[in-house]
Symmetry: C7
Subunit: 240 residues, 7 copies
Amino acid sequence: MQPQYQMGYDRAITVFSPDGRLYQVEYAREAVKRGTTAVGIKCSNGVVLIVDKRVSSRLLEPVSIEKIFKIDAHIGVASSGLVGDARSLVDRARVEAQINRVSFDEPIDVEVLAKKLCDHMQVYTQFGGARPYGTALLIAGISEDEARLFETDPSGTLLEYKATGIGTGRPAVMKVFEDEYREDLTTEDAVQLGLKALHAATEGKFDVNTVEIGIVSLEEKSFRKLERDEVKAFVDKYEQ
Amino acid sequence: MQPQYQMGYDRAITVFSPDGRLYQVEYAREAVKRGTTAVGIKCSNGVVLIVDKRVSSRLLEPVSIEKIFKIDAHIGVASSGLVGDARSLVDRARVEAQINRVSFDEPIDVEVLAKKLCDHMQVYTQFGGARPYGTALLIAGISEDEARLFETDPSGTLLEYKATGIGTGRPAVMKVFEDEYREDLTTEDAVQLGLKALHAATEGKFDVNTVEIGIVSLEEKSFRKLERDEVKAFVDKYEQ
Amino acid sequence: MQPQYQMGYDRAITVFSPDGRLYQVEYAREAVKRGTTAVGIKCSNGVVLIVDKRVSSRLLEPVSIEKIFKIDAHIGVASSGLVGDARSLVDRARVEAQINRVSFDEPIDVEVLAKKLCDHMQVYTQFGGARPYGTALLIAGISEDEARLFETDPSGTLLEYKATGIGTGRPAVMKVFEDEYREDLTTEDAVQLGLKALHAATEGKFDVNTVEIGIVSLEEKSFRKLERDEVKAFVDKYEQ
Amino acid sequence: MQPQYQMGYDRAITVFSPDGRLYQVEYAREAVKRGTTAVGIKCSNGVVLIVDKRVSSRLLEPVSIEKIFKIDAHIGVASSGLVGDARSLVDRARVEAQINRVSFDEPIDVEVLAKKLCDHMQVYTQFGGARPYGTALLIAGISEDEARLFETDPSGTLLEYKATGIGTGRPAVMKVFEDEYREDLTTEDAVQLGLKALHAATEGKFDVNTVEIGIVSLEEKSFRKLERDEVKAFVDKYEQ
Amino acid sequence: MQPQYQMGYDRAITVFSPDGRLYQVEYAREAVKRGTTAVGIKCSNGVVLIVDKRVSSRLLEPVSIEKIFKIDAHIGVASSGLVGDARSLVDRARVEAQINRVSFDEPIDVEVLAKKLCDHMQVYTQFGGARPYGTALLIAGISEDEARLFETDPSGTLLEYKATGIGTGRPAVMKVFEDEYREDLTTEDAVQLGLKALHAATEGKFDVNTVEIGIVSLEEKSFRKLERDEVKAFVDKYEQ
Amino acid sequence: MQPQYQMGYDRAITVFSPDGRLYQVEYAREAVKRGTTAVGIKCSNGVVLIVDKRVSSRLLEPVSIEKIFKIDAHIGVASSGLVGDARSLVDRARVEAQINRVSFDEPIDVEVLAKKLCDHMQVYTQFGGARPYGTALLIAGISEDEARLFETDPSGTLLEYKATGIGTGRPAVMKVFEDEYREDLTTEDAVQLGLKALHAATEGKFDVNTVEIGIVSLEEKSFRKLERDEVKAFVDKYEQ
Amino acid sequence: MQPQYQMGYDRAITVFSPDGRLYQVEYAREAVKRGTTAVGIKCSNGVVLIVDKRVSSRLLEPVSIEKIFKIDAHIGVASSGLVGDARSLVDRARVEAQINRVSFDEPIDVEVLAKKLCDHMQVYTQFGGARPYGTALLIAGISEDEARLFETDPSGTLLEYKATGIGTGRPAVMKVFEDEYREDLTTEDAVQLGLKALHAATEGKFDVNTVEIGIVSLEEKSFRKLERDEVKAFVDKYEQ
């Protein structure tokens, strides 16, 4: 990519380059690539989200680095990229979920929610006056007795995956999943596979303080973030 | 095209170049040319839409790559180009269709709907503050007992075709159609012709997972997307 | 015209160049010059509009390339230039005509309508936030028992002609008209003269599929687009 | 004037150059200098406006090239410069005149109207978002039993003249008037002097079709545009 | 001042240069320096305003070049710089004066009016979307039995002078006043001193047609513009 | 500071430079540094404000150069920098003081007023569409039986001083104060110290006409500007 | 970092660079790095905030340099960076706290308040028309019987720390804390540790006048700023 060639296109928001690309969106994707690694894995009885929080100092309260968010009883989200942007999208997701409960007296469908978020993100790629979101999300939840796992990116594209990763470690994560993912994994298997992928992505630099795990359970039809001791049990088991 | 010569015109949205072209619109067309290939074929008893979804990983749920959309009972759309933009246009199309049912108690005319979408797209080529849509659509439907097939592009131009293609494989597709299209094709023939065209466009890289088919049926006066086993039957037959 | 000299003026919308020209308007005129050719001819009993639709593929439905539009019972319009822009102006013209019927219970005067369209187009040459229209129109109609033929362009200039042409073939068309136009032509003569002009403009590349004809009839005080067989009759006669 | 020196100032609307000039206004004046020539002459019993319409083709209806406009019973205007801009100003003048009649039940004072138009034009030289008007006007009328003749330009400057000209032929016209104008001219004398001035400005290229004449009559306290045969009589007389 | 050094600052309205100057305001002052010369002189029994109208053609009605304006019974204003801008400020001043009469049932204080105008002008130096006014004003009037003489400039600065000048001849005028002004001048003396200053500023090119005089009289507590014969008497006397 | 290095940052309002500075604010401070010198000195029984008015011509009425303003009975302000900007801030301060009296029936607290002005000035450093204020203020007043002296600058920073100076002479003034200021000064001492500081700042070029003095008196709980003879007495005493 | 390479990205607000960074946000962080040093330390019975006020002149009233602000009875904030920006955020925080009391009749949760401030700051990094805040905050308070200490920065990121520092001395401060911080510190220990950190950051240049201390007490469930003699006692003790 020749820097001088781009100089006309990347300054103005929401403008096409001669080859039909939206540079601002591609640069926002770079912000995601610089983000912490998050993985999502569908399994036989739910979905697993695991995030590496990349805690850099013992003075930091790891619990304050929130990368997995509960959106509603049955939906959780993992984020990578700009932290403030993620929080803004999470707030929006929670509001959409509550509106659905108030309007229709039932939980929002995961796919409907994911599309609403993507539509919102697309608007920031087409209209002036604001930049695209510098964040990708993994959206996991229960929809009509089925576990679902969606991935969004700054362009507002929405894709459903069996297993996927976002953030700086995505290439390493996807390699592990392409090789080892199977649809009949139990939740426990999926957590171990996710930790293996994170291990590959972080060159082994993670421990109970830096790992955050969220699980969508088909049986309980709910999402919850694991407690520290539950995480510890999984990490200990992995390290054996 | 000399890059330094254009530099004044393509940055500002909705500005003419000295030779009377709207570069932003032409660049948006490039986004379409980079998109997946979609074909539409009118036949004696309806219209066929076929799309190559270009599934790149076994971890992706092919069903989540939606390129054919049902707009109303009698109208379907295939898209190519920016995914988020397509979803935005599809949402608009569905709303227009519902407004028509509510206001006039009858299904919207396909051509009326297509014009409304094109008018909307034209606005984004004339006014500042937003970029043109980076998407082309094939709009298929029933209108007064006739099958119709329209194609739009980022400029808001509307054309009706007997058979056409959009996206990266358009040149290959059009060559097949110019040579082999006949108006008396049955739906089955049309699907086979469409698969042949897609085969040419993708250098043979498609299978039941990557192909999506939608059919407008004159008899049933309706549009529906085929189920996976129906698609499989067509693809198997083609491969023989 | 030196490209580097212009570079400051053509980027900003609605700005004068040092020699008092509005480059954006002149560039919009280039868009018209790249458009298909349309001719209009006043004759003893009405006005004739003829357009070459430049159909490039046998797969295209020629009927979908609409270049002549009925605005009201007594007014028709032929366009050249950007297709989406033309449709936007046509929609506006139809609304103005209906408003007049509703407000005053009578058909709108052709000249009044033409001025309203030109005023609208002028606004886009003076105010920021949008580009000028890239379209010229021939507006034909009946006004107080008289046939009228107006031509507009992107600057919002309005002129009345006895016979005129717009689009890529304008120079060739005007040469034919300067030499052969007479005010006592019948409608039939006028159609033949128009076809001759189009023939000159298109180097003979037209047939029944690519020609669209609209006629304003003084007797019937109405405008109508000819049916395919009527067009065929005229084209056949011309070719003899 | 060095082109590269100006490059910073003429792009942004309503910005001063280092020497205290508003380039956009000066460039708008160039648009007027490229316009058709119009003259105004006060005489003992009224004001005469004469315009050369510069008809370029026998196919054009000269009557459609309107350069002299009746604003109210007692006021007429001649324009030079951008045609669409002139029409916009004329519309505004007519509305102002009608508002005055409705509000005060009397005809608007010519000077009041002229100032209102100039105030309007000045706004376009000070505020962003629009360009200045590319038009000059000669405003002739009756005000308290006196004939008045005003000239405006794109800056919103207002001057009253005994005799003046605008447009491409202004230098030639002013030379004739400086030499030959007398205040005791009759209307007929004034028309002949105006035709002589136009003759000088157009190198003799005018005839009954290209000349438009409007006369403010002190006796009748009214403005009217001459009919074709009246114009013919004056032109014939001049040519003798 | 190096032109290339400034190029970044003078384009954007209301922006400081590195040395803390507002170039657009300084350039607007250049517009004033290019304007006609106006002088104001306080004397023992009032204030005198004199303007050189710089009439360039015998065809121009000198009376239409208005450079001295009556604002209210007790206030007059002389202007230099952009004519349209001056008229806009004069209109505003008149409205402010009338509002004061309506609201408080008394004439507006001269200083209050001058400050209101300056506040208005300052806004145009701080906010975007419009350029500063290219006009300076001399504001003369009666305030609590005292004669006052204020000068404003495009920055909205307000200063009170005993005698001052604006426009192209200011340096010549100020030299005459510095040398010869005395506070005990009668009105007649003041007019003669003002004519002498104008004479110096215009190199003697003025006569009764080009000079406009306004006088604030302490006794009559009023402002009035002199009639042509009064001006003539003063000019004749001066020329002796 | 390299001029070419800055060129990207100082043009756009409210933008950070790579080293975290707001150039527009720093340039506005330059406008203050070019302003006249003002000093403020807290003393045992109040606060003294003294300003050098820098009167450049004997024709100017020194009283019209107002640099010290009474805001309310107990608050006075001295300004340096752009005159129009200062007047705008003074107007705002007066309105705030009146609002406080109307709302709470008591005089506004000096610190509260100073913060309100600073908040207002900060907004102009963060939002687009306007430039920062080019003015610094010394705000002196009584607050709960205590004398206060605040200094603001274009960034909206607020600091309280025992003695300080703004404008072109600030370095010279501060040097005098650092050396000689004592908290037990009487008002008279403070005026003499202030005059000494001004003398240093202006190289001795001041006299009774160019000096303006305002005094906040703790006993009288009020602010007033000294009359000319009072100023004369102080200046005479200083000059001895 | 190559200055010429950045030139396209840092001018426009809220635009991504090719490597996915928001330069304006990074430059705003530079403004924080140039700010005074502030530290926050959680201890066994509360939180301690200490700020170095960097008083540069004996004429300045140190008390007017406010860097620690009480937000509500149970929350205090320390700031570094642009002073005006900090005051704007503090005002906002106080309003949010009061709204919570009025709406829910209870004190606002510290984390909720911190998130609201961060959401507000994030908006200034995504939307045009304003720059990001050039300020970092340490937010200390009581939340459900727990002491909390949050740090924000211009991007709107929110982190909770055991001990942290902002401003120019952050690297020196963090080194002290990494080495010596223990969770079982008493408030007194924490103040001494904070002074040690400040001492390292300021190379020992602080005394009772330049140090400001605020303490959140778990027992009293309240925040208060220490009086001067309390600060003196701590500083004296430290210096021993």
